[in-house]
């Protein structure tokens, strides 16, 4: 399906071409946003905003690049802008950049709403999402693209515009950091046993 997207028509702001683009990639972009922001309304709004931004800045799209990778990049940036905005609204948020976010305790979000998570897996997913939020953006993105979107190192490297070895390093650091955080969380929260 992606081969059918006519880049020239997109650059001419052709509505039919943009409709094809939305139909082709809406599910991927929506699920990507839902992966970063586990709230269905926010993910829908931000993924739509990604298409609107793509429409406005289609002239900056370089021929030869993958339109899907380009859309992913736009959506990821918008998701992190949204996360930064919601973090700023929290109390004492202005002081947070002074401290290392990786040392923050895991805080389970109250508005967690991901319909793709089966009930038996929900508690673990909640904890994982909360732990992911405290990772640096590039580690968070690499982990999501690998674990959730099922991308390989090369695809992640293209999407994040970094080298394959950087992706490997990011994934290694993300896993190590998550393991440490989760260990601490489960040691403190003794009620996880069913």
């Amino acid at each position: 399906m992606p081969e059918e997207i006519d880049i020239e028509a997109l650059k001419a702001k052709d509505q039919i071409a943009f409709r094809q683009l939305v139909i082709a990639y809406s599910k991927d972009i929506f699920n990507l946003c839902l992966g970063i922001i586990p709230n269905i309304e926010d993910a829908e709004d931000i993924s739509q905003e990604a298409f609107v931004k793509a429409y406005n800045s289609i002239d900056s799209f370089r021929e030869g690049s993958h339109i899907k990778t380009w859309l992913y990049r736009i959506a990821i940036n918008l998701c992190y802008d949204h996360l930064k905005f919601t973090r700023r609204k929290k109390r004492y948020a202005i002081l947070q950049p002074l401290f290392n976010r990786e040392d923050e305790p895991i805080e389970i979000p109250s508005n967690f709403q991901h319909p793709g998570i089966v009930l038996e897996n929900k508690e673990h997913a909640k904890v994982l999402y909360a732990a992911l939020e405290s990772l640096p953006e590039n580690q968070h993105t690499a982990f999501l693209l690998y674990e959730m979107q099922g991308m390989n190192y090369k695809q992640i490297a293209e999407t994040m515009t970094v080298s394959v070895s950087s992706v490997e390093a990011l994934l290694f650091r993300a896993r190590a950091s998550l393991r440490k955080k989760l260990h601490k969380y489960y040691s403190e929260h003794a009620s996880f046993k069913k």
Binding site: V22, I23, Y55, N121, M148
Partner: protein, 116 residues
């Protein structure tokens, strides 16, 4: 109390939780809403053109103001003098006075008023 192994198991389960997430279908109205949002966006060249027009309007206003101020600064005393001169001339012609120091014209006016 949980053992270290229990904690390790929980950590492993949590780390693989993302692999078991199912892809979510988009809402039915998603494509239409997105197309509407795209349609409501003004084309970029219009925004640029309006910005240029705004800047041009501001520049024109600044030029007019600068020209006016410079004209006022150039001859600040001339303007009132002309006005004063004009008003005295008007007064003379209105009351038909040739010599300002004479007061006869006042008497004439009074006599005219006294006549029935």
């Amino acid at each position: 109390m949980e053992t270290r192994d229990d904690i390790e198991k929980e950590v492993d389960k949590t780390l693989t939780a993302m692999k078991n997430i199912n892809a979510v279908d988009i809402p039915s109205s998603y494509v239409e809403k997105t197309m509407q949002r795209m349609g409501s966006v003004k084309p970029a060249y219009n925004a640029g053109r309006y910005a240029v027009l705004k800047v041009a309007a501001v520049i024109i206003l600044i030029c007019i103001n600068a020209y006016t101020i410079s004209r006022l600064v150039e001859s600040p005393a001339q303007q009132p003098e002309v006005q004063t001169k004009a008003s005295i001339d008007d007064l003379v012609s209105d009351y038909q006075v040739t010599d300002i120091s004479s007061t006869d014209w006042l008497n004439n006016k009074t006599n005219q008023n006294e006549q029935p």
